[in-house]
Amino acid sequence: MIVYLDNCRTTKLDERVFKEMKSYFTEIYGVPSGIYTLSEKANDAVEKAQMKIGIPINANPQDIIFTSGATESNNIAIKGIAFANKKRGNHIITTKIEHPSVINSCKYLENNGFKIDYLDVDKDGFIDIEELKNKISKKTILVSVQHVNDMIGTIQPIEKIGKILKNKNIYFHVDAASSFGKLPINVKKMNIDLLSISSHMIHGPKGIGALYVKQGTKIEPLMHGFESLSNLRPGDENVPGIIGFAKAAEIAYNEMEKNKKYVTKLRDRLIDSIEKEIPNSFLIGPRKNRSPYNITVSLKNVEGEAIALQLDMQGVAASTGSACVSKTLEANYVLLALGLKHEQAHGSIRFCLSKYNTIKDIDYAVKALKKAYNNILKISMFK
């Protein structure tokens, strides 16, 4: 039995997506830049894809720019805005729990004359709106806050932040890799200027993502080359990837409410069962305003890599924020930013759900986790 519960890392491709993509490899293999019918067909398909992705988030379809994924989108958004607006200001505000592609882009900018404020978060991962307001200065050009944190599922108050930034001449970037297709997003209502989204988190193909850039945004490209559909991201389009991404987005938004309801039930069952079966554990992150797709718990007196490996031996794929899986041998920075002790972070196990998981999966995972915990606890000097 294989129970895949690492859907924040990647997801299984939806068969309907695969079917949609096939002809773009072998039949409609043109790229949009040609002047013949084959390119025309590819161009039409890419434009339709922009619509399928843009319309559900209330974006103008031509403002959807395809990239290789959310990492690239975050890099373009942050560095592109910084470079294009440095004459106006050199100050950027983000948070301590952003994805590494945001944090490391900011660190790069820090070494190049920019000043970055990393907002603290509370024990559930929420930023303090007042702290954000206090950090804003005349030099602030960009605020970047993720919608949903992939480690702990915290849903940030994006609409509130958007309201604060409105009419302030500060660009608002949102990393929505963990929420696109799963939660409602309205770029106009939320006052979002730039939005990073990913395909393989919503059962689409890997290696494709997009950046929404509101028309009129002053932004510089990071790559320079042949300008096809957009000068912000030159080079020939990954047409099959784009088609697959758009199909995945279409399915995700059509089925969003149904999936949300279903997955919330699974999530709550998993949280409640772990609480009941392993009393020496606690839920990390909020219970309210939490993504329906995330469950992260901390198990007392054990180390997460050993638990994850024991789970894998029983066919359950999950992950951990323990230092033992990181190259720096430091516990996961998101968990430490919440104020958790190192040992609480080392004992963390993350389960991320998808529409393909079943109640049977959940019950099996709990059983496997209990067994793993008891096995490892037997070895531990802490009891």
Binding site: N301, V302, E303, G304, E305, A306, L309, M313, S322, A323, C324, V325, S326, K327, L329, A331, H342, E343, H346, K378, I379, S380, M381, F382
Partner: protein
């Protein structure tokens, strides 16, 4: 990150040998750091300069557990001097290799063993 563990490591992780405490141990040491998520305790029973029994407890990853399992297996029946000569490289060899990121785990096991032997020597006033 997927860890590439050898079959020997996985087998020792799945069925670790010599888990637990030794009552009235002749030597005992705990090393490591909770901050790094890696701590180990080794208990030794020593008679006539020979390690009669060895047990361990570990708060750590799979590599750490497997390392302690194999180390406690190797040293049983060895003289204290033979055990002292073991290095972390010997342990890695016995495990059929470890991912480089996990070399420090084998180091921790050796460090804990050395620390236990040092304490035993001090207690028995044996010269180094």
């Amino acid at each position: 990150m997927a860890m590439k563990y050898t079959e020997i490591v996985l087998e020792n992780f799945r069925n670790p040998r010599n888990i637990g405490k030794i009552k009235n141990a002749d030597a005992k040491a705990t090393e490591g750091n909770i901050r790094c998520g890696d701590m180990m305790t080794i208990y030794l029973k020593i008679k006539d300069n020979i390690i009669k029994d060895a047990k361990f407890e570990s708060y750590g990853c799979a590599a750490s557990i497997a390392t302690a399992s194999i180390l406690t297996t190797i040293i049983k029946g060895k003289t204290v001097e033979q055990a002292e000569k073991l290095t972390w490289r010997d342990i890695i060899k016995k495990l059929g290799g470890l991912p480089p990121l996990k070399f420090h785990c084998s180091n921790l096991a050796i460090e804990t063993l050395h620390s236990a032997i040092k304490k035993w020597k001090e207690k028995n006033k044996i010269k180094f």
